[in-house]
Symmetry: C2
Subunit: 200 residues, 2 copies
DNA sequence: CTTACAATGTAAGTGACGCCAACATAAGGG
DNA sequence: CCCTTATGTTGGCGTCACTTACATTGTAAG
């Protein structure tokens, strides 16, 4: 039964999924600060105590959304694969995809990177695609290979993650450096990658 | 009159400063999520309505702490100056100072980079020392000079900021890449700076 | 000095919040 | 069919941010 639709029976039928779906849109509207479990229950058409049958508390629900966010981020990074391009280009596309994901899901992105125990399990999954491509870029000569790929990937991740969080928090406003997402990523990664970008 | 000390007179005398001081320690204990204006008022020994004589709402108080945080971050970056070292080394020390600031003031750091209108004025102040040193590093040949210093500084900032936020959120846990703050910054900036670090 | 006023405190209350305990209803297996 | 378990509801607790009306004090003009 879809979110927000009145039900006739006492039991909802698929409340857990309805809560997760409703939480995503409520988060998009109100942000992670303004998110309210009571309002979510109200929208789904259920009492304010019902969600506690499916999630131990508010943080457990948000944590589940974060876990799903890691999977979504991973597939977003994986989907940057294209036939016959260089690893360096793939890294650029991953960076852009990362910023896009953050811009499209700002609240979930924020929750993903607050410290909540348990995320150490699922976060490496989103990190792995980058490590793989960095290894390829090292073989291809686009990145120094005297450093383990994990360390290089961590640096690239930090750079892209920093761009994403600063952009979300309007960190670049007021510096006189207005740029598009693509330029932001390009200018940053050009300093890290050894070869200049093919298109410029 | 210091925080938490009982007063005899009806008026506090310096409530505004006492609130800001108490807020810093309360934030350190509870984090920005668990921070409560009521508890702050209780600790300072004043009614829960009193803070509203000095701050329009909770966010205004936190915003003021964020503004002070920008000034503190700026001085932390400025204090990395040493006689007779290279600009590249100065950049490394700035990076370490940035991570230290974040680790020492995690809640304030988090508040600083959430989007709150007004911070566009004071944030460039903390950004400026880095821009200056990047310009020197370009003249010194440690960074490419065919790109404006602001753009290079933005990339370095993003990298260091990413390291800081990921470290705060335990982002590197579970990756099998445990490192000290100094190593984290060194390994990242070595990829950005052209010359290898003198010590290694 | 007094008296008016502005600044700064309190008390009490509002609606929303997260969460809990006790109870009601339904679903499903023996 | 009945009994257990899962999954809802009602009502309530304590806390929160914030407001309104009132109390107290510092200050400065008459």
């Amino acid at each position: 039964m879809p979110t927000g639709v009145k039900r006739s029976s006492y039991h909802h039928g698929s409340l857990r999924e309805a809560l997760l779906d409703g939480a995503r849109t409520l988060l998009a509207e109100r942000g992670s600060q303004g998110f309210s479990l009571n309002e979510l229950a109200r929208r789904v058409g259920v009492s304010s105590a019902a969600p506690y049958r499916h999630f131990v508390d508010r943080d457990a629900l948000l944590g589940e959304l974060a876990d799903q966010g890691y999977l979504g981020l991973r597939t977003a990074l994986e989907e940057t694969e294209r036939p016959s391009t260089t690893p360096a280009d793939r890294i650029r596309r991953m960076g852009v995809a990362y910023l896009r994901f953050a811009a499209d899901n700002p609240a979930v992105f924020g929750i993903m990177f607050q410290h909540r125990p348990g995320h150490e399990k699922v976060r490496p999954l989103a990190f792995q695609p980058l490590v793989d491509v960095v290894g390829q870029a090292q073989e291809h000569g686009d990145l120094p290979d005297h450093v383990p790929p994990g360390v290089v990937a961590r640096t690239i991740w930090a750079t892209v993650h920093g761009l994403a969080t600063l952009q979300l928090g309007q960190g670049f406003v007021g510096l006189g450096l207005e740029d598009s997402t693509e330029n932001l990523v390009d200018q940053a990664l050009t300093l890290l990658l050894r070869r200049p970008r093919p298109g410029g």
